[in-house]
């Protein structure tokens, strides 16, 4: 038994060559033992010996000894790849640097895209959370808000069981926070319902999650704000004072809201302190409503129920307010549409005005991804072109290898090893480059990304896969091309001068330059459009104006402040108002002509409270009538319209003296009527990208902002005087001010960022394409060295030789330009269509783009060509 098992065991592991004689020896011992000590001992000994024979040197072939040949081949391929790389240091450098830079650019784009699409994904059950967005239309006025009526949240939850949670937020304002006579300027304060903590994932550090904002006068702070106001002391239970009016008890502290959130409040005040929160007004959209649906999660089914929901709850108020029924309104073209926006799509897809924070755009994501792809393509093409162009150099190697018995498959393996090795080196360089430029990148994109590749959940798996794929993609064509040579021809000297590759190579160069030229034209258009917007006639003066904020804190001292300031030398005029231009206003409600009878005639108008100095401070141009005056008592019931508003009311010809009234004037006469005393030229009171909408200015006390216009070069003196006066009058509250032109420029942040990114990547594309062109021209010139020498001997001039060498490249760049212009025109027109005020894409940008590329190409090619053309022909002809 034991002996049988022993034999089996030995046959299993022992090398077949050794088995016979070892088994024979064991047999001999066995019989010896059998005679001496008996059968039991002998077979036991046999097994023990077999076990002890388990030695490395006696084993069968295994993974340690096998595959050696294959490994050697790989090693050899790597060695050959390394050698050929080192032999042509110049080409290798062109290849690797181009690849590395483009890969780094792609990785950065991937980092950006990954961050953008991660927005709001961290909320628990984020796929079941929705925001209600409104799409409203009445008459000629159309709105898209992220907001909905105040009672909507609670009513939806009560009416529909599939809505398991609902909560509201309101506002994103800035105020002065006071604690123990210390003052802090606090931004991003938002009213919130207690239930918001059941919907959105806020990480609570202190406080009772169930009772944070369920009582009046309560507030929750973020960690940073708590530290700013309270230092290291425990803030929970302490009281802070907001805007010198409202005392709030701090009930909790939460972690700072993550950067990838569509809104990032720093302080939440209970909604119970918002005076409008329970007035039940269905017609005013001020609250941002969030819903969490049940597990079944069918937003479309819920959306289908909205019309009947609106009929039930809105009708009465519509009737009361406008005098018409809901059905009448809808049949006359009005629209009351409330949609469910999935939480994770808000950042990239929402198109509403007045959203929280800056919102991303899916369009930019697409544009950057496409640019990244093309940059990579250009670098891969460089690799292919240089590899095939140098085919004649490697042709002999291929021939000799084939004669010595290499199979085509092995040669393909060898060339692929080369390209994958290049790709690995390029990736290593690229990753280093990414980490090197990451701070600048964060700066540019206004993000806070650290360690995007190797962190858990980082990009490294994609990077690894991309590395191999790019190596294969770039190497496949050269590998098949090079390994296809026929040894006899190659060795006889009938070197394929890369003829068969020429067409393919030219096509690839055309692709490169078409892309590059398109990108250049694109960045020129972006640049032009942006400088057009920034330098457009605004209709108001933005220079030399300081806005002092929070002036409502002055209370009765406002006039004293104004008086003190007007005494300061250099101050030209002072105006007190609720709104200043280019901040993006949010105070519109419908207004009617005095003789209107139907709500369809209503015009949605921005209503701003200003004082009599507003027009002179901002240099608003009066077209007709006059501005408010301090002395006229009747001005409190007067209004100044902008041109658009006058036109929309139908008063374009002779507006002065005509009257307008508020919406509720339809059902009764108690609504005030205003007389138009003047018309101002349209000015860009909102974002420059928005079209100018009707606007009305009223004389009134709205003392939030004091605008001070000062003489040139007096900024610091006026600022110092204003601060001194402010400190004296407010008892040391923080002095908060902005320069109007900074404020104006800040609205272009996202577009300027887009411009910079676009320009950087466009330049990269051109540079990488030119790297390839440089290599290619170097090679071609080298090949024609003898021809140049002979031509020169026969009397050709340097200029004619240069012309000869340029022709090929000229033709290629010309074809590329012809292809690129329509492509660029199509895409840039599409991009421009988002702007209300857009430039016409003139021929200049195309000419500039194409000409610029020509110049760069000439410069690149010219360097090599000139060197060759000026060389003494003797040197060219003497070689060999």
């Amino acid at each position: 038994m034991l002996k049988k098992f022993g034999e089996k065991l030995l046959s299993f592991y022992c090398h077949p060559d050794f088995q016979e004689d070892i088994k024979g020896d064991l047999e001999e011992y066995y019989f010896f033992n059998l005679e001496e000590r008996g059968q039991k001992y002998a077979s036991r000994k046999y097994l023990i010996d077999v076990v002890l024979l388990f030695r490395l040197s006696l084993l069968r072939d295994n993974w340690l000894t096998q595959n050696l040949t294959n490994f050697a081949m790989v090693k050899n391929n790597l060695k050959v790849a390394y050698r050929s790389m080192m032999r042509h240091k110049f080409y290798s450098f062109l290849n690797l640097s181009g690849l590395a830079v483009s890969i780094a650019a792609c990785i950065l784009i991937a980092v950006y895209v990954k961050h953008e699409i991660s927005f709001d994904n961290y909320h628990q059950d984020s796929e079941r959370i929705y925001r209600i967005a409104s799409h409203l239309k009445f008459g000629n006025n159309e709105f898209r808000f992220p907001a909905s009526p105040a009672p909507m949240a609670e009513t939806l939850k009560n009416d529909y069981p599939e809505v398991i949670e609902s909560a509201r937020l309101r506002g994103d304002f800035q105020a002065l926070v006071e604690r123990d006579n210390q003052f802090f300027n606090q931004e991003h304060i938002t009213y919130a319902d207690q239930d918001i903590f059941n919907i959105l994932t806020f990480d609570l550090l202190q406080g009772d999650r169930e009772h944070l904002l369920d009582e009046p006068n309560t507030a929750v702070l973020t960690e940073t704000v708590a530290r700013k106001i309270f230092g290291d002391t425990n803030p929970v239970g302490e009281v802070i004072r907001i805007s010198n009016a409202l005392d709030l008890k701090v009930t909790g502290v939460m972690k700072d809201i993550r950067e990838n959130s569509h809104f990032r409040p720093e302080m939440l005040i209970t909604m119970l302190n918002d005076p409008t929160h329970n007035r039940g007004n269905w017609l005013s959209n001020n609250h941002i409503t969030y819903l969490k649906l049940a597990e079944t999660n069918d937003p479309d089914a819920l959306y289908d129920k909205f019309p009947s929901f609106i009929a039930t709850h809105f009708s009465a108020m519509i009737k009361q307010f406008t005098g018409n029924t809901l059905e009448e309104l809808i049949s006359s073209g009005s629209l009351l549409d409330y949609q469910l926006q999935p939480l994770s799509r808000i950042h990239l897809y929402s198109q509403e005005d007045y959203g929280f924070a800056s919102e991303g755009s899916i369009q930019y994501i697409y544009i950057f991804s496409i640019i990244g792809f093309f940059i990579l393509l250009i670098a891969c093409i460089n690799f292919m072109n240089l590899a095939t162009a140098r085919a004649s150099i490697r042709a002999k190697e291929v021939g000799v290898r084939k004669v010595l018995g290499s199979l085509r498959k092995q040669l393909i393996h060898q060339f692929l090893t080369e390209s994958i090795l290049s790709s690995f080196i390029a990736f290593a360089l690229a990753i280093g480059l990414v980490y090197l430029v990451l701070p600048a990148f964060n700066n540019l994109t206004d993000k806070e990304i650290v360690n995007p590749i190797f962190a858990s959940g980082g990009l490294w798996p994609f990077v690894l896969v991309a590395c191999v794929v790019i190596g294969l993609a770039a190497g496949l064509y050269p590998a098949f091309f090079l390994s296809g040579f026929r040894p006899v021809q190659v060795l006889k000297g009938e070197v394929t001068k890369g003829k068969s590759g020429v067409i393919m190579r030219n096509i690839l160069v055309v692709i490169q330059f078409t892309t590059s030229i398109s990108l250049i034209i694109g960045s020129l258009v972006v640049y032009n459009q942006l400088s057009y917007l920034q330098n457009m006639d605004l209709g108001f003066n933005k220079d030399q104006i300081i806005n002092v904020m929070d002036t409502d804190l002055l209370g009765n001292n406002l006039d004293a402040f104004k008086n003190e300031l007007s005494g300061v030398p250099g101050v030209e005029s002072i105006s007190v108002s609720g709104f200043v231009p280019s901040t993006g206003a949010g105070n519109d409600f419908p207004i009617l002509r005095a003789d209107a009878t139907s709500p369809d005639e209503a015009v949605s108008v921005q209503n701003w409270m200003v004082d009599d100095q507003y027009a002179s401070t901002y240099d608003l141009e009066l077209i007709a009538g006059q501005f408010f005056s301090k002395d006229k008592k009747t001005d409190s019931l007067s209004v100044v319209l902008n041109e658009t508003a006058a036109r929309r009311f139908g008063y374009a010809d002779d507006p002065i003296g005509k009257k307008i009234k508020h919406m509720n004037g339809l059902s009764g006469d108690e609504a005030p009527t205003y007389t138009i005393i003047g018309v101002i030229r349209d000015f860009h009171y909102q974002n420059m990208t928005d079209i100018i909408l009707p606007q009305a200015l009223y004389l009134g006390q709205s003392p939030e902002i004091v605008s001070v216009k000062f003489a040139p070069a007096q900024a610091s003196a006026v600022l110092a005087a204003a601060e001194k006066s402010w400190t004296g009058l407010t008892g040391g509250r923080p002095f908060n001010y902005r320069f109007m032109d900074d404020l104006f420029n800040s609205q272009f942040e996202s577009q300027s960022r887009f411009k910079t990114i676009f320009t950087v990547f466009a330049s990269l594309a051109v540079i990488i394409a030119c790297l390839g062109l440089f290599g290619l021209s170097a090679y071609i010139t080298e090949q024609r060295e003898k021809e140049i020498g002979i031509r020169k001997v026969l009397g050709a001039s340097t200029a004619s030789l240069l012309g000869l060498l340029f022709t090929t490249f000229n033709r290629l760049v010309l074809i590329s330009s012809v292809l690129a212009i329509p492509i660029a025109y199509y895409f840039m027109n599409d991009w421009l269509s988002d702007f209300s005020y857009q430039i016409q894409i003139g021929p200049i940008v195309f000419i500039l783009g194409a000409l610029g590329t020509f110049l760069v190409a000439w410069f690149t090619v010219g360097f090599q060509s000139l060197k060759a053309a000026r060389k003494n022909p003797v040197e060219n002809l003497r070689t060999e």
Binding site: F18, E20, D21, I22, K23, G24, D25, L26, E27, E28, Y29, D49, L52, L53, F54, R55, L56, S57, L58
Partner: protein, 112 residues
């Protein structure tokens, strides 16, 4: 770097193969070593030493005739190669050198 790698046990096996010229196969070698050196030799140690030295080139081997004994299995006879002899010589030479270098004084053992 040592020119010839030859361990103590390997050296004994190699010498024994020489001693048993023409008759050196597993069982015989084992018996001879056990007999002469009064020490136990395991089959595993012996066989692995033999194969190791064969792959190093110190030994060559060939299979003998089929016999009725041993369940019809052939014996593998080992022979020292010239490289094996060189290794043995080298080993002996280095030892002799060392012997010769020991000063006579070293052999004068005193009670101390």
């Amino acid at each position: 770097m040592k020119k010839y790698q030859l361990g103590e046990f390997e050296e004994i096996v190699l010498l024994t193969v020489g001693v048993l010229y023409g008759e050196a196969y597993g069982v015989a070698i084992k018996e001879r070593i056990e007999q002469k050196l009064q020490r136990k030799v395991s089959v595993g140690a012996l066989q692995s030493a033999l194969r190791r030295m064969e792959s190093k080139g110190y030994l060559s081997s060939e299979l003998g005739e089929t016999t009725k004994e041993r369940g019809g299995k052939r014996k593998r006879y080992f022979k020292i190669t010239s490289l094996g002899k060189e290794a043995l010589d080298y080993n002996r030479q280095t030892r002799m050198d060392l012997w010769n270098q020991i000063p006579d004084v070293a052999w004068e053992f005193k009670l101390c």
